[in-house]
Every structure is written in C-alpha cells, then in structure tokens.
C-alpha cells in the first residue's frame, strides 16, 4: 500500500450459500484513478462494489478505506464513498427531488430528513444536480414510480453526485441512457464536477461497465471472471486477448 491509496481489498473472498462469488481478490485503488471494471454478468462485479462500499461484509479478508479498516471508520468517513447501484435503489414512494435530497442525509441532521419528507426543505442543491443530469423541471416533484427508466437512472446519478463524495462506485451507470446522455453523464461522473466547491480532492472512480466503447476516459481497466481478478492494467495496455479472457 502507498500513501496515495484510498481503497484497498486484502485477500477478499465472499461466499453466498455454497457459491464462492469472490475468490481471494486483492485490489488497490489510488486517489484520482478512474477505473473501469469489466466482466460478464454474474462475474462478481456487483458483489465487489458492495464490498467496497461496506454494504456486505466479506467472508474472508479486509477492506480498508484511507488505510483504516471499515469497522474502525465513523459515519462521516464512510460517507466519502458514494454508489450508483445497478438496480438504482430509489425510494419509489418519494418524489425525484426528495430522492436526490436523500443524498444529503449524511451531512444533515434529523430535522432535515423530516423537512425533506414534508417537502418543506430547500431543493436548491437537488435541482442543481438534477439539471446537470439533464432532468426536466416537470419531473422534479413526480414520484419515482411514475418516471421512465432513463429518468430514474439520472435521479439515482443526481442523488450520488449531490453527496459530493471523493470516491465514486458505479454499477452500470449508463443503462437506460441514450448516446447523447451517456456522454453528458460520463463527463459528470468522471470529471470533477465539484471544482467550484471548496473540496479539492481529485475524484476517484470505479465503474462497472459492459460497453467497451466507453473505456477511453478511464486510466485503468480491471477484468473480473468467476470472482477472480484476471487483469488490472493501464487502459493503453489493454489488448484483445485480455477481453477474450473475461468475456
């Protein structure tokens, strides 16, 4: 591990029932790195992301954030990671703007959560990120269940962006988006959208992908197959043979 490492997996295995989903995975993610995670469906990408953000505990091994074990971290430290889930995990009965505001729950108190549910909190910041995600104002107060797949996807992205976290984990974030929107969202996720804010840390991102044409903006590529990391290389070194190994 070097001083620049933000996230580290040490010998991680994860078993679900009798299936070994991840098998002795070692990984270091350095500050500012943009990493693409490639692999077939069911190869362990989502599980890896869930372990990295602390949602599931590994059966074996240790996860470290800023050189500290996950168990030792407090709430504020953990909130430096934001996740865009493949299945979005939005709250269906809340409106789009309320869902986006949920991203601010970590840095606010109980009263904020209460005001958010009563629709009396400020949605200024939520609207800013919804606008960045090209969401039309007419859907801001609509319940999630009434939105299209693409709109839901962008609400989930806006919820993640509003957290202004240093580390982004994203599982297939470009699903349901048309090509023009993919470019916009990709720029939002990989460039430092918070550059006008006081936070100076470069953004670190690990994004699970299926589409190879989106790899250009990433520094590194990780290939995963059957719960094992097959390669972890710089994007420029990626060859056809690598892809054949994992697909």
């Amino acid at each position: 591990m070097n001083n620049n490492t933000v996230l580290e997996l040490e010998n991680i295995s994860y078993k679900y029932k009798n299936d070994l989903i991840l098998n002795k995975v070692n990984l270091q993610i350095n500050s500012g790195e943009k990493i693409a995670l490639l692999g077939k469906s069911g190869s362990g990408k989502t599980t890896l992301i869930s372990i990295l953000n602390g949602t599931i505990k590994p059966t074996q091994g240790e996860v470290k954030l800023f050189n500290k074990s996950f168990e030792e971290l407090d709430r504020k430290q953990k909130s430096k990671i934001t996740t865009i889930w493949q299945d979005l995990r939005l709250i269906e009965d809340l409106s789009a703007e309320q869902n986006v505001n949920c991203g601010l729950l970590a840095e606010n108190n109980f009263y904020f959560a209460f005001k958010n549910l009563l629709n009396i909190s400020s949605f200024k910041k939520a609207h800013k990120y919804m606008k960045l995600c090209r969401l039309h104002t007419s859907i801001y107060d609509k319940k999630i269940r009434k939105l299209s797949g693409g709109q839901k996807q962008r609400v989930a992205i806006a919820r993640s962006l509003i957290q202004e976290s240093n580390i982004l984990l994203a599982d297939e974030p470009f699903n349901n988006l048309d090509p023009k929107l993919i470019t916009t969202i990709k720029n939002l996720l990989l460039e430092n959208v918070y550059k006008n804010n006081t936070k100076k840390s470069p953004k670190t991102a690990l994004v699970a992908l299926h589409r190879l044409d989106l790899l250009n903006d990433f520094d590194k590529v990780i290939g995963i197959r059957d719960g094992k990391i097959f390669f972890n290389i710089k994007r420029n070194n990626l060859k056809k043979i690598h892809l054949e190994e994992i697909f």
């Binding site: 909130s79 990671i81 939005l90 709250i91 009965d93 970590a106 109980f110 959560a113 009563l118």
Partner: protein, 500 residues
C-alpha cells in the same frame, strides 16, 4: 375414480360444512316461546321510536360513544404506529439491535392483543369500578397491539435494497429510519385508519353493553326492557354515525405536501402522545383500587375450577372459533354466488351492513329468544357478524375487479352462476382466504364476547370468576385465552404466508 382436487375456490366453500353439526344442534335446541319477540324485533326495525326525549338521549349517548371511540382510535393508531415501528425488522436492522429484543416485543404485543377489549374492560371495571376512562383504556390496550401488527406488517414490505442504499449514504440512523418508514406509515394510516375508526366505534358500543356508557348501554337497557322500537332508534343512529364518520374520513385528504396540514397532523401526533402520558399518570395516581387490593390477592384466592371442566371450556372455545370461522369464510361467497342479481346484491349488502352494525351480544340475545344457549348458537352469532365483515371486503374486491373473463364466459353460454364462480370469484379466492385467515385471529378473540352472553367457553367462565373475585381463576382463564389466540395467530400466520 377422479381424485378430489382442492383449490382456493373450493377451499373458500368447503368450511360451509360446519353448518351440518351446527344446524343439527340448532334445530334440536329450538323453542317457540320467543318467536313473537323475534317478530317484534324485526318489525321494530321499520318503526323506530322517534320523539324529543329519545332524540336528546341519542345525541347524549352518541356524544359519549364518539368521545370514547374517537379518542381510543386516535391514541391507539398513534401508539400503534410507534409500537409497529419498534416491532418491525427495519428498526432492528438500522440500529443494529439484536433480534432477541425484536422477539420479546413481538411476543409481548401478541399477548396483549390476544385478549379482547371486552375482557380488558370487564377486568379493569372490576379493579377500578365503572369509569368513563375505562372504555378508552380497555379499547386502547389491545388496539395498540393490533394496530402495531398492521403497521409492522407494512413496514416489513420495505424493499431491503432501499434500506441498503440509505444505509450506504451513512445518514444518521434516525434520519434513515424516518426516510424509509415515512410512506409505508402514511399509506397504512390512509388504508386502515377508517377501518380502525369503525372498529373503535363498534368496540365502544360493545363495551357500552357491559356498562361503560355511550349508546351501547342504551341499546342493552332497551333490549333488557324489550323496548325494540327504542332499540332500533339507537341502532339506526349508530348506523348514521358509522356512515358519516366514513364519509368525513374519506373527505379528509392526508396530503403531506400541504405545509399547514402537515403541521396540523404533526401537532395532533405530539399532543396526543403528551396528553396520553399525562392522562395515564393521572389515572394511575388518582384511582383507588376498588376490588383488587394487592397482587397478593391473586395468590390468596382459591380456584374451584376442576381440570376436566377447564379443558372442556378450552375445547368449547376452540370449537366455537372453528365453527364461526367456517361460517364467516363460506357464507358470503355462497350467498353472493347463489343470489347473483343486481337487486339481490343490494339486499345482501344491506343485510351484511346490519350484521356488522348490530353488536354481537344483541344478535345473540335476539337469537336466544327462540333457541337455547349452546356452542352452535354462539358460533352462528359470531359467524354471521364476521360474515358481514368478510362480505364487505369480498364485495369491494369483486366490484373493482376486471370483469372481462366473466363477460367472456357468459357470452359462451355458460350460466351466470358458473361464470361468476369461475370468471370472477376464482380470481379473488386466494386474497379472500388470506383475509379470512387474518379475520379468524379476530374471531378467536371475539369468542370472549359471545361466551359471556351465551354461557359458552372461557368467556362465560371469565365472567363468573370475575364476579366472584376469584383472581386465580381469572388468571388461568386469561392465560388459556392468550394461549389459544397465540396458537391461532401462529397457524393463521402460516396460512396467510402460504397464500400471499
């Protein structure tokens, strides 16, 4: 020979077989002494007494009923929501509390709700004497536990992935909890609030029959004096109250986006909690125990109840529950299926409304005018009253159902009854049976009411033991009641899970 195949539709009709032993006993117990009274009772429904004096009494009694019913509803729905939250999985997941506490709270609430409000009422009356607040407290105790179950069940439906997502944001735990439970709580209140209000009013009426006050007391007194015209005045006024409360509740919009309304509802929420606590403390410290001097009297009192008699009472209560449940499940689809015309449906709906409206003790007392007290008569009463409730649900579901299958079957020349059965009811049978499983929990609890009046089962023994201050017997009966209700709830829970 073809094997008999049971499906949800046939399972809905099968319990009607309970009518064979039930009918046999009822026919054997028939007597003709009270037919005239029964006839008077029916005729009086169309000719209720209306004069200044009775109108003033009705207004006064309805006021009491509304007060007891409304306050017990408000307190029980708010505390029900609070207990629902702390007895739901999501609470323990967010706060990382060991499951052990979850099981303890659930068990405690199951015991509380297994005892009917009438039993709580009679018990509290024996301890504190007749008191207006006894009505509210007697309803609130089991209702908080019942409502908490309803809220907890809704909270269990929260998508686990939403929880994971909020948890991953690392928000303060109370903020996460509030964000996740907000909508299920509001929706449960919207969907069940009116029904629970209706239940509160009904329970107030039933407790009134036992002397708590309100319109129930007037109904009982007029029945005792055989003043059926007066009785029907009270019953019709009660019907108007229930219909009006339903209309008012439907008019209220629980719009959480309206700031003023939201602040109003939140104020009501906190004021009710504060008021309940202060009232509870006042009640505890300002009431003298009239008959129940100390806990030690529980151990001093002796019991003459033999083991055989006690087991017989338990068996009677179980049989009573099974027979009533059989009627409550099968009678509505059978009657609606046979009399499947629009005009017949109106009559069935009116009849079902009357069965829901008339308190079970009054139905039982009316039936006792021409039949001797027996388990079958008590079961018929309880079954009919609950059939009134299950038929309401069945009608609501059938009316809102897509009728294309039914129309298609009729167009093929299939008879109206068969088309109804296969094209309409068969699609509802599963959810209807799931609701009936929930209803049978309530039927077990309600055996206490008909037991007290109809000399059957543990309810009767409870009344006897309480009257003679035999606290040891009272405790035994209550433990037996709780045990039956808890076992019943476990079995019904399994049935419900397999149906949903």
């Amino acid at each position: 020979m073809n094997k008999l195949k049971l499906n949800y539709t046939s399972l809905s009709f099968l319990p009607i077989l309970v009518c064979i032993p039930l009918g046999y006993q009822l026919i054997n117990n028939i007597h003709f002494g009270g037919f005239k009274l029964f006839q008077d009772f029916l005729i009086s429904a169309f000719n209720p007494k209306i004069d200044n004096e009775i109108i003033i009494t009705v207004i006064k009694r309805l006021n009491e009923t509304i007060l007891i019913g409304f306050f017990s509803w408000l307190v029980s729905i708010i505390f029900g929501a609070i207990f629902g939250i702390i007895s739901s999985n999501i609470f323990y997941k967010i706060f990382n509390i060991p499951n052990f506490f979850y099981l303890i709270i659930r068990f405690f609430l199951t015991i509380i709700r297994s005892i009917h409000e009438v039993v709580w009422g009679i018990l509290l009356m024996q301890i504190y004497g007749i008191n207006f607040s006894i009505g509210i407290i007697a309803i609130c105790i089991p209702y908080i536990a019942v409502n908490s179950k309803v809220f907890a069940e809704q909270l269990e439906t929260i998508d686990y992935k939403s929880f994971e997502s909020i948890n991953q944001i690392n928000a303060p735990k109370f903020s996460s909890l509030l964000t996740l439970i907000w909508n299920p709580i509001i929706n449960t209140f919207k969907n069940f609030g009116l029904y629970r209000l209706e239940c509160s009013i009904r329970s107030t009426v039933i407790l009134g029959l036992f002397g708590i006050g309100g319109i129930g007391t007037s109904i009982f007194l007029s029945f005792q004096t055989l003043n059926f015209r007066e009785l029907w005045t009270y019953l019709w006024s009660l019907a108007i109250l229930i219909i009006l409360s339903g209309l008012i509740f439907k008019k209220i919009k629980f719009n959480t986006t309206n700031k003023i309304l939201s602040i109003f509802f939140i104020s009501v929420f906190f004021i009710t909690i504060l008021f309940s606590f202060s009232y509870f403390l006042y009640f505890i410290f300002n009431n003298n125990f009239e008959n129940f001097n100390s806990v030690s009297s529980l151990f001093k009192s002796s019991s003459d109840l033999g083991l055989f008699d006690f087991l017989k009472l338990i068996l009677e209560t179980i049989i009573l529950s099974l027979l009533s449940t059989g009627i409550a499940i099968s009678l509505p689809p059978l009657v609606i299926g046979i009399f499947n015309k629009n005009t017949s449906k109106i009559f069935i709906k009116i009849f079902a409304f009357l069965l829901r409206l008339i308190p079970t003790p009054v139905i039982l007392l009316t039936l006792l005018t021409f039949n001797n007290p027996s388990v079958s008569l008590a079961a018929l009463t309880l079954g009919l009253h609950n059939a009134g409730i299950t038929s309401k649900l069945l009608f609501t579901n059938l009316d809102s159902q897509d009728k294309r299958n039914y129309i298609a079957m009729k167009s093929l020349g299939i008879s109206k009854k068969t088309s109804w059965l296969l094209g309409l009811f068969s699609q509802q049978a599963k959810s209807y049976l799931a609701y009936c499983a929930y209803r049978s929990d309530i039927i077990i609890r309600e055996t206490a009411i008909v037991g007290v009046i109809g000399s059957v089962g543990l309810g009767w023994q409870l009344q006897e033991s309480l009257s003679s201050f035999a606290w040891q017997e009272v405790t035994l009966v209550l433990i037996a009641y709780s045990s039956i209700a808890i076992v019943g709830e476990l079995i019904n829970g399994k049935i419900k899970n397999s149906l949903t």
